[in-house]
Symmetry: C2
């Protein structure tokens, strides 16, 4: 059943090959001082940096640069960014890059004018934001996290070894995001494939929970089918515009709150994946890939009806003459086959996990209760063994 | 291929059995004077009128009533509404009802402060709105048009016999909409089924155009599958909350601009349906139902690839050992069977059309060019014959 919910997503999206030109229109809505946030410089290699700086200057903006955002943005970096934003009284944060740059920009946006320690207030105590929020605009160059149209912000405290994901409300969402699939061409294939599985995992974590026939699940099935189709094309030809644009658009809708509306969610693959990342620094999407098949095989009996539906509606398994278990199992077999085909890492050994880490990973996994089975620490260790 | 587009939909939705309480929160954002727009009084029968008036009074609002909005809102009524809004300087238009009430409220919203004739400016010349817009809130009691989360506004000029649909931009969308599936229980079965087919037709008119594998088409397939499933349940038991809530949610997403993004659209079933309405005053959804199967059978050869895909992905046609034509045809056969099962009117004779009207209907049909085949007047007459 569709539960009660509020849906509100006011991010304005400009999509397509020509979308950068709309930055001119958007800049008119903000003051003169723009903080330009980006990562390790890939936006310079593809020429985007020069284009953006030119548009900013043409619009009479004063630019305050904040480069060097790392794949897992640190709290230390956030404190630095807050100083830049506050001291220069910036009117807009322009995040140019992937999910990390966007996540980081949200942290700076809410923290710059926070009168106490923002880590404690917004990431530990998860309080509502009640100070000035600096508006954010985003130019996306990597796809996967959906950060361009949501309130998600994952920040790592290297001192306490905590990586915490906070989901802020719509007042923190980017005011606008520019999505040009061409920018994603420069992402190396390993990262592209990891990003694709991150998207798939977002969809599956919201799908494998509840037993209802609600519209949300049907939308997820549509998005999954599109992603499977487009990813197979993109792996063969990363410059296939149709495929890359569909992947980019699917990523946005996989995690912009729509497909979670009115239903429960699981997220245990992400929880185990995060714990593995903390021990190995492996690429996020690959930790999800290496964990998914053993995890889903393990919980399948507890959510058999949904796994059967998944096999038929997403993987075209012909149910005739088969038991529910056989149908569900065949669905996961096809998923595994697809994952190998597009080149995902299928075991945690290849990500640097050794058996002596199992206890630690299981202990640091945050256990949620939205899925078909609430896992014990022992069950997590069993799953980790199956992931080797 | 996903073309260039802008997506921006800032309507805030409150969904579920408890959603009316959020009206209290929303009212705080607007001034004291509220114009209360509704239809022929069904909201009084279900007790909603009293509840809404109580909430308005509890929040200290002054109420200006504008009842009696008809199924096809007239321009004359719009002029009256404008006078009420302008003379009382209202701060918010609260539309309580179905799509007609919402469409009408949008017309008043943009027209009250228009310095020339709003019909000429906004419905004939389709100009951008450049005067004061009165904000709208919506409490939905009937589902189908999607007017709760879009800029659509269909108004009838009885003097010139013109029924014109204008799609305004996001600045005219309702600021908030309250969607409580329980309110839709009171709709008579004939209207419920007509509304269901209106939703299906919105999805199909956006689906049957272009030959691409884009994400949008996959989302439409998901929404169609959900609608087919839920409508079968709702016809047997109109008070099945799960089914009615899914239908309500599907209606919103079928026409809130998402599934049109990046693609072309058809809309000829609506065009022929509107022309039939003008001659017979038949219920909108039923005109679409009576026209759809003959229309789609006629254009099938021109968009065979998509009709084949439709048969397999939406109607579960097994393609093995069949030609593309056979697969596509089987899909439309199953659609027809489904339509008869849920009780739709399947021919235009039953809607009051007689053969002597053919010429006139064909002549007054607005011919669009987004579908697989641009129709001539003769082809429309041929299709109308098939609809008898």
């Amino acid at each position: 059943m569709l539960g009660n919910f509020v849906y509100y997503n006011p991010t304005k999206l400009y999509f397509g090959q020509d979308s950068l030109k709309y930055l001119n229109d958007e800049l008119k809505n903000y003051g003169k001082k723009v903080m330009l946030v980006y990562g390790k410089g890939s936006i310079k290699k593809i020429g985007l940096y020069d284009e953006v700086v030119k548009i900013l200057k043409d619009n009479g903006k004063e630019i305050f640069e904040d480069p060097g955002v790392m794949p897992n943005p640190t709290l230390e970096k956030v404190y630095d960014g807050c100083r830049i934003a506050r001291e220069n009284n910036v009117d807009l944060i322009l995040a140019v890059g992937g999910g990390s740059v966007c996540d980081y920009s949200k942290a700076v946006s809410v923290s710059a004018y926070c009168e106490e320690d923002p880590w404690e207030k917004y990431y530990i105590r998860m309080e509502e934001v009640n100070n000035k929020i600096i508006p954010i605009g985003c130019i996306l160059t990597m796809t996967g996290t959906g950060s361009e149209m949501n309130g998600g912000s994952v920040i790592t405290n290297t001192e306490t070894k905590q990586k915490i994901g906070r989901v802020f409300g719509p007042e923190v969402f980017p005011k606008f995001s520019i999505l040009n699939p061409l920018y994603t061409y420069s992402v190396p294939k390993y990262q592209m494939v990891a990003g694709i599985f991150d998207i798939m995992s977002h969809l599956l974590e919201q799908y494998f929970s509840g037993e209802d026939d609600n519209t949300t699940d049907y939308i997820i099935e549509g998005l999954l089918r599109s992603l499977i189709h487009s990813s197979k094309v993109a792996v063969k030809n990363p410059e296939d515009y149709e495929a890359r644009s569909n992947i980019m658009w699917t990523a946005t809708w996989a995690l912009n709150t729509l497909v979670a509306k009115g239903k429960t969610e699981d997220w245990m693959v992400h929880m185990i994946g995060h714990a593995i990342s903390a021990y190995t620094d492996a690429t996020h999407g690959m930790t999800l890939a290496a964990v998914s098949i053993p995890y889903y095989r393990y919980i399948m009996p507890y959510g058999l009806k949904k796994f059967k539906r998944y096999a038929i509606n997403v993987w075209n398994v012909n149910p005739e003459g088969k038991t529910d278990e056989e149908i569900a199992k065949e669905g996961l077999d096809r998923m595994e086959e697809y994952m190998r085909e597009i080149g995902l890492v299928m075991n945690i050994r290849d990500l640097g996990v050794t058996e002596d880490m199992f206890e630690g990973i299981a202990k640091s996994t945050f256990i949620l209760d939205g899925g078909y089975k609430v896992l014990s620490r022992e069950e997590i260790i069993k799953i980790l063994k199956d992931c080797m």
